[in-house]
Symmetry: C2
Subunit: 325 residues, 2 copies
C-alpha cells in the first residue's frame, strides 16, 4: 500500500500518531496542530512551542526562480507562520541542510543571510543544526517559540457560531506559480507573494487574545477549514464571494482560464491566518484596527463542510493541497 | 568556492556562526556543541537542550542493508547520543521526513516503530514533524532534552591535566561498513554495532556529575578530540595502544589489510562518549563501577594534538570524518 492510498500526507500523520501515543502530563498538544505545545514550567509561565518544516529543491523552491536569500527567507517565514498560528512568539531556530558537494559557499551564505533577515525581523536567533552532503538540496528548520497559556489558539478551539476570518487575500502564491509554470511573467505583486511570502506575526499577537481556533494557510483555505472542523468536531460554511482575492490573482485567472477561487481554496503558501472568533470578541478585535475578512462561520458537525457558490448553491467544500496526492 | 575548499562541514559551520551571532542572555551555548543549551527558567531549573540530525538514504543508511525498524532506531539513537554527550535527559522528539511517492506505508510505519522503540526505552515522546514528497528518503530528527546546570558538559570544559576517557570500544561500525562495502559478511557483533548502534544514555548521567568536557564519537575519535581541544584552547596526547578495539574489529583489519586504529580515529557512528575528567574525580567515578577506557590526556595548547604510536613516536593526530571531504 502506498501513501496516496491511505489519504495522503494527513492519513499518514494520523497513522503515525496512533502508533506513537504521547500521553504525558506536560504535553498540552502533540501531533496535529501548527506546533507542539509543552508545559515546561508551572503556569502562568509561557508554554514552549515547537514546529518544524521541510523544504525540498524543485518541489518547494527552484534555484532558477529564487535567489538563495529569497529561499532562506521563505524557509524561515513558513516556520514563523506556524508559531504565529498558535498565538505565540518565535525565539530559537535550528537549521538542517543537505547540500551537493559542488554547492558554492557564497550560495549557502546567502541562504543563511536570508534566514537571518527573517530571524532579525522577529527577534529570533539561530542556534544550531546539521549539515550533510547529498544530491538534492533539502532544508529542515525547527523553530521554538513561546506562548502565553491564555492566548494559545489550538485548531480544536473552534465553536459553532464562531465567525471564520482571514487576515489577507488568498491565492497569490499559487497564481504566480501557475503563471511561471506556464511560461507567463507574474506581476511584481504576485512574484513577491510567491518568492518572499511573509508570516503574519505582525498581527497574530493582536488576534490571539480574541480568537478561538487559529491556523496558518499553507495548504489552501479548504484544507485549513477542514483541519479546524475535524479537530473542533464542527462543520463550516464558507461563502465563495467573501473570499478575498487580489485583482492580480483575478487577472491571472483570466489569463489562464482558471477560477481564482480554486487557488484560494487549494493553492498553498499564502501564510495568511485563518481563525475563528465569536461575534462579540470580533467587534472588540476590530476596534483595534485589524484589517480582517469574514469568509464564513463554524456550524454544527452534522451540517457538514460547505461552500456557498456565487450562484447561491451549497456544495461540499472542494480542494486543499496534499503533498502525496 | 565550494564547501571542501573552506575546510568542509566544520569550516562551513564556522562561517554560518560568524554570519548569525546569537548573543542573547538565555543562550548558554549556541552553534558548536552536541546540542544547543538554553536557560528558559531561572536556575536551578534545568536547561533546555536542542539537537538535530539529518540522515540521507545511501549516505547514512541503505534500504538494502537495514530494515526500516533498524533505520528508525539508528536515527533516533544518534540524536539520543547528542543529549547524552551534554549530560542531559532526552524528552521530546520531532521527525521531518522526505518520502518518494511510491514508498510502502508499511515501510514508513516500521521506520516510526523503530524510532518509537528507542523513544520508549529512554522515556521520550514523539510530538510532531513534517512529511513531504521527494526522490531521496531524508530523515531529520530534532530532539529536545533537559540538563541539570551543574551537570552540563560542554566541549569547552576541558582542562590541561584532565584524563581523556571513552566509554567503550571504537571502530566497529566503520569496520562493518568497510567489510560490507567490499563484499564480506561482518560478524554478528560488527553488524549489530553498524546497523543498531546504541547511545550511551545508560552511563552518561552517571558520568556527567564528574566529567569536565564531553562529546559523543560520531565522526571518529580524532575529530572529537580536536573539537574538545579547539573549544577548550588546549592540546591533547592520545596513546594509540590504549584505544580500546574489539577483537572482531582487529580481525576485520587483518581481512582487509587495514590498521584498525584508523577506524577508531576516523570511522564514524560509534556513539560512545569521549570525556575529560580530573584524576581525582575519575577515581570517584570509577568507584561507582563504570567501565571506562583511558585513551590519553589534555595538555597545554602549545603542545599540539598528538598521537603516541605503538613504536613510541609522537605524531600529529591523524584522521577524523568530514561530510564534505
Amino acid at each position: 500500500m502506498i501513501i496516496k492510498e491511505i489519504g495522503g500526507e494527513f492519513g499518514l500523520i494520523r497513522r503515525i500518531a496512533e502508533l506513537l501515543p504521547a500521553d504525558r502530563a506536560e504535553v498540552v498538544k502533540g501531533i496535529g496542530d501548527d506546533a507542539a505545545v509543552l508545559r515546561i514550567a508551572p503556569e502562568p509561565s509561557p508554554y514552549l512551542l515547537v514546529t518544524t518544516d521541510l523544504l525540498v529543491e524543485n518541489r518547494h523552491f527552484r534555484r532558477t526562480w529564487s535567489t538563495p536569500e529569497q529561499i532562506g527567507m521563505k524557509a524561515a517565514e513558513c516556520n514563523m507562520s506556524d508559531i504565529a498560528a498558535m498565538g505565540g512568539s518565535p525565539q530559537w531556530m535550528f537549521v538542517s541542510i543537505v547540500l551537493p558537494a559542488d554547492t558554492e559557499v557564497e550560495w549557502v551564505e546567502s541562504l543563511y543571510r536570508g534566514m537571518g533577515r527573517s530571524c532579525q525581523q522577529h527577534g529570533v536567533v539561530l542556534l544550531g543544526g546539521d549539515t550533510t552532503q547529498g544530491d538534492v538540496i533539502t532544508i529542515n528548520i525547527t523553530l521554538l517559540g513561546s506562548v502565553d497559556p491564555d492566548h494559545l489558539c489550538l485548531r480544536r478551539h473552534g465553536r459553532p457560531g464562531d465567525l471564520l476570518m482571514v487576515t489577507g487575500t488568498l491565492g497569490a502564491s499559487a497564481a504566480a506559480y501557475a503563471l511561471l509554470s506556464n511560461g507567463y511573467r507574474p506581476s511584481k505583486y504576485l512574484l513577491h507573494k510567491h518568492l518572499t511570502p511573509a508570516s503574519r506575526l505582525d498581527v497574530s499577537s493582536r488576534i490571539a487574545p480574541f480568537a478561538n481556533a487559529m491556523i496558518d494557510i499553507s495548504d489552501g483555505l479548504a484544507a485549513e477549514v477542514r483541519h479546524i472542523c475535524a479537530q473542533s468536531a464542527a462543520g463550516a460554511r464558507i461563502n465563495s464571494q467573501n473570499i478575498p482575492i487580489h485583482d492580480d490573482v483575478k487577472a491571472a485567472g483570466r489569463t489562464l482560464g482558471i477560477d481564482p477561487v480554486t487557488w484560494a481554496l487549494s493553492g498553498g503558501e499564502d501564510f495568511e491566518l485563518l481563525f475563528s472568533v465569536s461575534p462579540e470578541r470580533l467587534a472588540q478585535l476590530k476596534a483595534q484596527g485589524c484589517v480582517l475578512h469574514e469568509v464564513g462561520r463554524i456550524t454544527d458537525a452534522e451540517d457538514g463542510i460547505l461552500l456557498m457558490t456565487s450562484s447561491g448553491e451549497a456544495i461540499p467544500l472542494p480542494g486543499g493541497f496534499d503533498h502525496f496526492e
